[in-house]
Every structure is written in structure tokens, then in C-alpha cells.
Subunit: 198 residues, 2 copies
């Protein structure tokens, strides 16, 4: 077995993966280039062949976290049984997407935090399947099936996205006015969104 090839071969991927692991278990604030380099078995400066700066690494990880969230939404949507009336089904799908959004944040708070961490770096590669698109599609679908009036089509996405994103943020934030029970609030907000876009 090759002891230690001079070239790692897939350093960028290895670094991203190790970084995602750190984010999952610890949080994006604890990302350290030197730590990752150690983890992967490479010198600190080697990382600079793949990420111009720590901020670029952070931005990449944030992007991966966003894609992970989008994947969760898609999964929740596609898990809805393809039975019954189309109209009702479009409503259920939308609701499950919303629930998945908040659930993802609650179950993987560090990932969710990373997904929307403020970073001033502009990646050249754009996001793959944006969570935003999944939401807009679901709403468009509801408009088609008549579950949502066409008048609401324009504003419904920002209303729904705001409500769901805000709740997720609130449930995962550290500072709080008083203990808030997650499960109860989720349905309350989802109901509110339904009324708002009806």
C-alpha cells in the first residue's frame, strides 16, 4: 500500500468533507484550515491550492449546507403519497416542505446555521437545487390545482419563505425570551401561512 503519495488526489473534496463533519458536530465557527489540513494529513498551506482563503472554505461549506437543506425539502415533498385529489395533494406537499424546512433546522441546527451564515465571498459555482426554487414550484403547483388563488401567486413565496425561515431561526437561536416548544409552534405557523396565502 502506498504509504503517503506526495499528491493527495482529491484534497478539495477531502477538505470539504472534513469541514462538513466539523460543522455537523461542532459548528461553523470552529472551522480551522490547519485543523482540517491535519485531519486530512496534509500541510496547512496545501489548502491554499483549493481555497484562496478561509472565507472561501466557509462559503463552500455554507453552500453544501444549503444544498443539504434543499435535499431534505425535496425528500419531504416526494414522500407524499401520490393518491387522492390533486388539489389536496398539492396542499399537503407544500405543508410537508414547510415542515421539513423547520424540522431540518431543529434537527441539524449547526448545519442550518452554516447554511445562512453571513459571508462576504461570492462563489463562482452557483448553488445547485435551491430551497427557494422547491418552495416556489410547490406554490405554483397549488395555484394550478386551485388551492391558492392566482392573486396570491406573486407574494405567496416571500410570505411562506419568511414565515418558515423565521420560525426555523427562532427555534434554533440561542437567546430566548422564554422556552418555546417547537412541535406546537410549527403547526401554528404552517396554519398561519396557509391562511396568509389563501
Amino acid at each position: 500500500m502506498a504509504e503517503k503519495p506526495y499528491h493527495h488526489g482529491a484534497l478539495e473534496l477531502a477538505l470539504s468533507s472534513a469541514a462538513m463533519e466539523v460543522v455537523r458536530t461542532s459548528g461553523i465557527a470552529d472551522l480551522s484550515l490547519r485543523d482540517l489540513a491535519r485531519e486530512v494529513g496534509v500541510s496547512p498551506s496545501a489548502t491554499y491550492r483549493h481555497f484562496p482563503s478561509r472565507d472561501h472554505l466557509v462559503a463552500r461549506v455554507s453552500q453544501l449546507a444549503r444544498e443539504s437543506l434543499a435535499g431534505a425539502l425535496l425528500g419531504a415533498r416526494d414522500a407524499v403519497a401520490a393518491t387522492g385529489a390533486l388539489k389536496r395533494r398539492s396542499v399537503v406537499q407544500f405543508r410537508e416542505i414547510g415542515r421539513a424546512y423547520v424540522t431540518f433546522a431543529v434537527e441539524h441546527p449547526t448545519l442550518f446555521e452554516a447554511a445562512f451564515t453571513p459571508c462576504h465571498i461570492r462563489l463562482e459555482r452557483a448553488d445547485d437545487p435551491s430551497a427557494w426554487i422547491v418552495l416556489v414550484e410547490a406554490i405554483d403547483h397549488m395555484v394550478v390545482t386551485g388551492a391558492v388563488p392566482a392573486v396570491r401567486r406573486k407574494d405567496a413565496p416571500i410570505i411562506a419563505w419568511s414565515g418558515v425561515h423565521g420560525l426555523a431561526q427562532i427555534l434554533t437561536a440561542s437567546v430566548w425570551p422564554s422556552g418555546i416548544d417547537a412541535t406546537g409552534e410549527i403547526d401554528a405557523v404552517l396554519d398561519g401561512i396557509s391562511r396568509a396565502i389563501s
Copy 2:
């Protein structure tokens, strides 16, 4: 004039103020104990007499930012003219509070970011006038004037808070699906919230 008294006299306040200035102009990520110490004209280790760690300083600044936000909400509420029907006035006040929340975030993005930055430190001193309380009071007031049905009293706060906080977060976040126009979206979301809690 006293050249340089050995004791600063109000170091904690001076450090907090300098820190808030950095947050306002630069962002909470750029906070540095050594920088602040230099700014205030004190040795780096002096800061440790007032903040056990950098995280504590960050937590304090975050708290100050939250109080600043709460102040903006109070200001917006009290700026509503005390004329006309009570019912209508309670609705206008609620709407202005919501608008102020989002406006604060858009106009002072770094302060808003600081207000909800994730930090694992628990301050002993609790927040003074929480933004949450202002919101709940406004909703209670609407229930009293009959602008909001009593059935919604329980869920209205989390619905409104989620919508407004989510929109603020979305408008100030760095990564985006597409350019979003702030002013238009604010009214859309505020209208949505009104429908949701009616």
C-alpha cells in the same frame, strides 16, 4: 490634564461602546479584544477584568444590539398618532412595529446580525426591554380592541414574529436566489401576517 491615570475608571462601558462602534461599521466578526484595548488605550489583559472571554464580550454586544432593536420598535409604536378609533389605531401600531423590525434590519444589517448571532454564553444580566414583549403587547392590544379574534391570541405572536424575523433575515442575508426588492416585500409580508392572524 491627567496624562494617563493608572485606572481607566469606566473600562467596561468604554469597551462595550467601542465594540458597538466596530459592529456598526464593520460587523461582529471583526471584534478583537486587542483592537478594542488599543482603541481605549489599555493593555490587552485589562479587558479580562471585565469580560471573562471574547465570547462574553460578543454576548454583551449582541444583547446591546437586541436592546437597540427593541428601542426602534418602541419608537415606531409611539410615533403612531393617538387619533381615530382605538381599533384602527391598534392595527396601525402593530403594523408599524412590524415595519420597524424589518427596516431596522435593512438599515443596520450589521447590528441586526449581531443581535441574533449564535453565541453559547449565558449572560447573568437578562435583556431589558425585549422586542418579543413589544410584539406580544401590541397583539394583546389588538385582541382587546377587537381587531384580532381571541382564538388567535395564542398563536399570533409566533406567527407574526416568524414572518417579520424571517423577512428581515432574508433581506439582509448575503446569499441569494435572485435580487429581491425590499420595500415591496415588506408590505406583502405584513399583509400576509394580517390575514394569518385575522
